[in-house]
């Protein structure tokens, strides 16, 4: 496991968001340390995805702050959050359906490219070289994910399991330092879930910090360094998997939901 | 510029605004039922005026009968448009539907120019030409007819939607077509109803407007676009918003034409619209978040 007292990469304090009268997230504080795999769990409606949406400015937060590597995230537009080195995958795996798998991953390189509309149209100032380079990088990335033979396929044709893998490959292509993954195992079968677990661990080995929202408890318990439990938008408990597994408040919150095994 | 002049512009603007409001109402009716912007809405207005003028001048019918015939024929045209062109393409993209309704509008206008020729057709004012003076500004009796027709039509529409089964069913379809269908509401019938109502409302606008502007085969395009403008200004699909949008647009256009430049009258409506959209991206009374 990573060093327990590594630097905090993301420091969230007193984050709040209400929809109408409903408190979706209220006063949540936590930190994610560099090199960690941290999981956010909780019953449906606990506010997990909302937290991701607040961190990536998809929704405006009502109050609180989120310090990432010396930057305040909450007031930045989404694309600037990405530029700071934060990647994200979605519950519904948002691929670009009209593009091929390879092109999807190539869009992942966007942040590191320099070609603009004019240099691209005229193929000047290294536009062609950049295009070739990113094509090869994307091809390699697909190869590593075992998806090379899908490169030319339209993304819309993929089954859910492969969609998730492509989305992760695309997010990693942007070379994030922090990756937010929203239910990466949803809709996957057992074998695919296991593979996703391996990929998440490899991602961490590659130096990427992971913040994970996940319902599959066996996956969460096996790969997480630390778990934050939310219930009704509030922080319920936080700690390493063994501690969370035995926490009575957590068991009570999950009663009737699903057992923690 | 005196206050009386401004008041005069305001009153005449209100008159045109009344027509815009009626046209906007037509847009909203169809939009709510189908999600389609019917660019042929302006042609309903043209048909209303042309048919009435023809029925009076050529067939010697009394005004009320001519108007009734005009509304009836236009309604049939609206129903045919729905059946022949909109329904087969219901699930197409917004752009495709825009092209279809624009095609329909070109088609109707072309036929009208063949049937009636390029000349303007006068329609006598409903109750004499004597001007009425209100606080120093004059207004024709026909203007009162326009405003009266707008008010009555709006009230009838409101009553239909509030109190009749058909109206309630149409509202249900607008809110959630799927659920409405599950409740046994036949969607396609509701769409037909909305096209029929929209065409009738358009025809009424054309009939009351014709004595002021004269009827001509090509008046539909600009009136339709202004009505669309009013519908968007008020918030697309919002009936009350459309009426408000129409009146505001008419008044601003008249003031702009009078105070700034009458040559650019047609541009003023769209300048107003763009400014409003930049401040409120879903219109004056539209829901936040814009187009569903």
């Amino acid at each position: 496991m990573s060093a327990p007292r590594a630097r905090a990469l993301l420091q969230v304090s007193e984050l709040s968001k209400t929809f109408g009268g409903l408190e979706a997230v209220s006063d949540v504080s936590f930190e994610v340390r560099e090199g960690q795999i941290k999981a956010l769990i909780g019953p449906n409606g606990a506010g997990k995805t909302t937290i991701f949406n607040l961190l990536t400015s998809v929704l405006p937060a009502d109050a609180g702050s989120a310090q990432y590597d010396g930057h305040e995230l909450l007031r930045l537009p989404t694309y600037r959050v990405a530029a700071l080195g934060i990647g994200r995958t979605f519950q519904t795996s948002l691929l670009f359906d009209q593009m091929t798998v390879l092109e999807n991953v190539m869009v992942g390189h966007h942040l590191h490219g320099h070609t603009n509309m004019i240099t691209a149209a005229l193929r000047i100032f290294g536009a062609s070289a950049e295009e070739r380079e990113y094509r090869e990088l994307a091809m390699d990335a697909l190869g590593n994910a075992g998806l090379a033979d899908l490169a030319g396929r339209p993304a819309s044709e993929l089954p859910i399991g492969q969609r998730r893998l492509v989305e992760v490959a695309r997010a990693l292509a942007s070379e994030p330092r922090l990756l937010l993954m929203d239910e990466p195992a949803a809709g996957l079968n057992m074998r695919e879930t296991e593979r996703m677990g391996e990929i998440i661990q490899q991602t961490r080995e590659g130096g990427v910090t992971v913040l994970l929202v996940e319902h599959d408890m066996s996956l969460v318990m096996s790969i997480s360094d630390e778990i934050l439990v939310l219930d009704g938008g509030r922080r319920l408990a936080e700690g390493p998997p063994e501690q969370i597994r035995n926490d009575e408040r957590v068991l009570a919150a999950y009663l009737g939901e699903e057992a923690l095994d | 510029m005196t206050a009386v002049q401004v008041w005069q512009f305001f009153l005449s603007g209100l008159t045109t605004g009344g027509t815009y409001a009626l046209i906007a109402l037509g847009f909203s009716l169809v939009y709510n039922a189908t999600g389609v912007i019917n660019f042929a809405q302006g042609e309903f207005v043209m048909l209303g005026g042309m048919i009435t003028a023809t029925a009076i001048a050529a067939w010697g019918l009394p005004l009320w009968l001519a108007a009734l015939i005009a509304v009836a024929i236009t309604t049939v045209v609206g129903l045919v448009l729905d059946r022949a062109a909109i329904r087969p393409a219901r699930h197409s993209s917004v752009v495709v539907l825009i092209i279809i309704t624009v095609g329909a509008s070109i088609f109707i206008r072309g036929l009208a120019s063949i049937i009636w020729g390029p000349n303007e057709r006068p329609l006598p004012a409903f109750s004499g030409e004597a001007p009425i003076v209100i606080f120093g500004a004059t207004i024709t009796a026909q203007s009162l007819w326009v405003l009266g027709a707008t008010l009555v039509t709006a009230l009838i529409m409101w009553a239909i939607f509030e109190y009749t089964i058909v109206g309630k069913a149409m509202r249900a379809c607008a809110i959630n077509p799927h659920a409405a269908q599950l409740c046994g509401i036949e969607l396609s019938r509701m769409v037909s109803w909305s096209f029929a109502l929209a065409a009738a409302v358009g025809a009424i606008a054309g009939i009351v407007l014709a004595p002021i502007t004269m009827a001509q085969y090509n008046v539909g395009t600009m009136l339709g676009l202004k009505g669309f403008c009013a519908a968007i200004l008020g918030g697309l699909g919002n009936g009350l918003g459309g009426i408000l949008g129409g009146l505001v647009l008419g008044v601003l256009e008249a003031l702009g034409a009078g105070l700034v430049s009458s040559q650019y009258k047609d541009a003023i409506a769209f300048i107003v619209l763009i400014i409003v959209l930049l401040i409120r991206p879903s219109g004056l009374l539209g829901r936040e978040g814009g187009d569903p």
Partner: protein
């Protein structure tokens, strides 16, 4: 191939790369064949009327290609694109005829003016979505066409204005030799098509297609979607401006506000949709079809617009996905019918 896929994934990946490389080569070949066709066509078509029509196809193709970038790739509707065509035409027309500029700097100035207007208009309006964006662009189109009509001192108003020809280092493109102008216009078409093909297969081109599919996913990968929409808008306006300049200096040596109105904006929309949005060849198919339809209908006199309206409706009802997909579906439908007939006959025989 499937058997190898199970045991050795690597060769399959190489195959995949080969397939895609072949696809890119095929596209290059297609563009080259377009050039070849452009070069030899006047040798086959001697009739100056047809040359004239083909020049118009070229202009429409430039317009439709620009609009295709905005609609087909970036997924943003514009109902006022003829405005930029008009600004391009009038800006260079006025600069040459009234102020005596040479056509080349006038073209550049027109391009700058159009891009500036597009940028000013696009920055706020492209925040709007769906029908609201459609209405805003429609409004811009109408405002421009009203200005062209009413600013009589500058534009000559509805009566139009005379323009000049294009002179390059003292050599003028003569108005009585349409073939010269044909090569000039289609030379531009070829250049602009290559630029377009380069652009869509590049970082910014993919960014546009990405935001078309999902703005959220595009933003999360660091794409400033608002800025990219505006850039696509400006570039499509630039294409329209170039087409406008070429139109202004064509052999008619005359421009009036009529071709720059709502009807043209709609015709451009039809070209893009009809050819198939978001494809390199869509605008070609659309521009050829619509230009020919419009020319073909001219002798119909007063029935012209009736038939035109009818054709628009029928085409869109029958083939909402564009001509290529529409014909493909028609082909499948026909084959199915034939198959069913055969089956019925066989069933009847047995």
């Amino acid at each position: 191939m499937n058997a190898t896929a199970e045991t050795q994934p690597q060769p399959v990946a190489e195959n995949e790369a080969l397939v895609m490389a072949r696809r890119r080569r095929a596209q290059k070949l297609q563009i080259l064949s377009l050039f070849a066709l452009v070069i030899v066509l006047p040798l086959a078509v001697r009739n100056s009327y047809y040359i004239h029509v083909i020049i118009f196809i070229g202009l429409n193709l430039i317009l439709a290609t620009g609009l295709n970038l905005l609609m087909g790739y970036a997924g943003q509707v514009s109902l006022g694109h003829a405005a930029f065509f008009g600004i391009g035409a009038y800006a260079s027309g006025i600069l040459t005829a009234t102020y005596g500029w040479n056509a080349w700097p006038a073209m550049l100035a027109a391009l700058v003016v159009t891009c500036l207007v597009a940028w000013l208009v696009g920055r706020p309006t492209l925040r709007l979505k769906g029908h609201y964006l459609a209405m805003a662009t429609l409004g811009v189109g109408i405002i421009v066409s009203v200005v062209l009509r009413q600013w009589v001192d500058l534009t000559g108003g509805p009566a139009g204005m005379k323009t000049t020809g294009i002179t390059t280092f003292g050599w003028e493109l003569r108005s009585d030799a349409d073939v010269h102008y044909y090569y000039f216009v289609w030379g531009w078409v070829c250049v602009l098509t290559i630029l377009f093909a380069n652009l869509v297969e590049s970082r910014p081109g993919r960014a546009l297609r990405a935001l078309h599919d999902s703005e959220l996913a595009a933003q999360i990968l660091g794409i400033d979607t608002a800025a990219f929409k505006v850039r696509a808008f400006v570039i499509s306006a630039a294409y329209a401006s170039i087409a406008g300049t070429l139109y202004a200096h064509s052999s008619m040596r005359f421009i009036s506000p009529t071709p720059f109105g709502f009807q043209t904006s709609i015709a451009l929309l039809v070209m893009v949709v009809l050819g198939g949005q978001g494809t390199l060849w869509g605008p070609v198919v659309g521009a050829v079809t619509i230009t020919f339809i419009q020319e073909f209908l001219r002798p119909f006199g007063e029935w012209e617009i009736v038939v035109y309206g009818l054709i628009l409706m029928v085409l869109m009802v029958v083939m909402p996905g564009g001509l290529a997909r529409g014909l493909g579906m028609l082909w499948h439908w026909g084959r199915e019918r034939v198959g069913r007939l055969r089956a019925a006959r066989a069933g009847g025989g047995a």
